[in-house]
Amino acid sequence: MGKKFVVPFGSQHVALPEPIRFVFTTENEIIRNVAVDFGYVHRGIEKACMSKFKYTQVPYVVARVCGLCSISHASGYCLAIETLMDIEVPKRAVYLRIIAHELDRIHSHLFAVSHLCEVAGYENLFMRVMRDRELVMECLEIFTGNRVQYDFVTIGGVNRDLTKEVYEELKPRLEELEKRLLQLKEIFEKDYTLQMRWKGAGVITKEMAQKYNAVGPIARASGLATDCRVEFGYFPYEELGYRMVLYHEGDIWARNMVRVDESLVSIEIAKNAMDNLPEGEINVRVRGNPNGEALVRWEAPRGELLYYVKGNGKPVLERLRIKTPTFSVIPVMKELYYNQPYALVPDITISFDPCLSCTAR
């Protein structure tokens, strides 16, 4: 029996880019109890989208729910409005959205991977992944005009076209990135100390994932085959070379590997979409106001994102509901901490790739 010892983790902490606060009660550095406070980022976006902003402005606002997957938010919302208002989006715009979205997924996943290395104390690998990530950041910057907030998707289509010049800039970078990612994958599979630290640590079993309704890479690392890209079927993913990445270990290592593998799949999808880009318009004009309700399940980098919109024929929406992936994994995350050593807390936390700015909105 060791002495009970209370350790706060967050809200300001080097391992956390975002404010979330855990208070752990530990015993010999083993966690016995945990309290979590994730309300630091609550800004009131939903209300603002229901009172202050017109529905055409909302894509730019919801993109700022989260910087890591801004395009998921914007597209999820636009898709919901388009379903609601029966707008047919041009095929070229659909493909452009896929490209941007997959590039965004790569950037988000690589950030998560590098961050996980950083908290594991593997500074060199952190630097290496960050360096390789700059390739996809450059792609996104050339493609959409900003490194993080793309403002690329609007209701009815997209804002920018993929010109020949841009295509020529993007293609070699993606190919280079693919090569480097394969090398990285080898490191993650072989490195001895990484395995020692991550294998068998923080295991989420399939049952646990089902019981607590885990989503995204966390569920897929536990062998739970769920992916909104398949289940909702909004985009022609199957024809672009999508395949599901599944691991069964459920530990930190598996979650990391899911992200690395998914980045590789995403590169393939983006390249396919770029090569088979249909000709045509990139957006259609939108008239009228939304009336009715619609719902979109979107696979953001961290998993299922739900957009529920309800309009009442006015330019301002009646209800906009954002359910974000991290919101869904917090219950399983909280459960997982019990009886883990404190030394693993940063790794476990970051292996969820938590993004609180969308959890609290």
Binding site: Q12, P19, Y40, H42, M127, M130
Partner: protein, 185 residues
């Protein structure tokens, strides 16, 4: 003596980063600054996660109601001389979140900000330029200037325990009173 030491300030700024409710966009750009492509360590900057050892506070986010007490506490824990840099539109003025019900429209309503870096998200190059400006200001600052009122009067008898939380709360109260509460909505 201190004049001599002052010269070395600009070569060793240690940064501390706090997120007061941003979208992460600017935070990941700060992380990108640490990475090889922008490598801010070449200017001597270190990311110290510890307010007591940091010189430059990088704040992102529009300051949500829950984050402000923590922000003040971190600011008070940092020893002088120190500078504050607001990174990104929402830290400067509130950005898109301006006038939402749970945000306070910018960092400078709570702590004095020295440099504002625009952008949504701020580019790493721009962040570096901003930090350089901040260092210039930092060089001018005196080491004993206290920027917030010293509120702790409770220790006079030397016995009563210090409740830092309470101190911060009092301070928040002080600063919120000054603002027009209707403006906060």
């Amino acid at each position: 003596m201190f004049k001599f030491l002052k010269r070395f300030r600009k070569k060793s700024p240690w940064i501390l980063h706090y997120n007061t409710g941003s979208c992460n966009g600017c935070d990941i750009e700060i992380y990108a600054c640490l990475a090889p492509k922008y490598d801010i360590e070449r200017f001597g900057m270190l990311n110290k996660g510890n307010p007591k050892q940091a010189d430059i506070l990088l704040v992102t986010g529009p300051v949500t109601k829950r984050a402000r007490a923590r922000l003040l506490r971190i600011y008070m824990q940092m020893p002088e001389p120190k500078v504050v840099v607001a990174v990104g539109a929402c830290a400067c003025t509130g950005g898109v979140f301006r006038h939402m019900y749970n945000v306070e429209n910018g960092v400078d309503r709570y702590i004095p900000v020295d440099v504002y870096i625009p952008g949504c998200a701020a580019r790493p190059e721009n962040i570096i330029a901003g930090i350089e400006k901040a260092i210039e200001i930092w060089e001018q600052k005196s080491r004993d200037r206290l920027e917030l009122p010293k509120v702790c009067t409770k220790t006079l008898d030397g016995k009563q325990p210090i409740d830092r939380r309470q101190i911060v709360e009092e301070l928040v109260g002080k600063y919120t009173e000054k603002l027009n509460p209707e403006e906060l909505l």
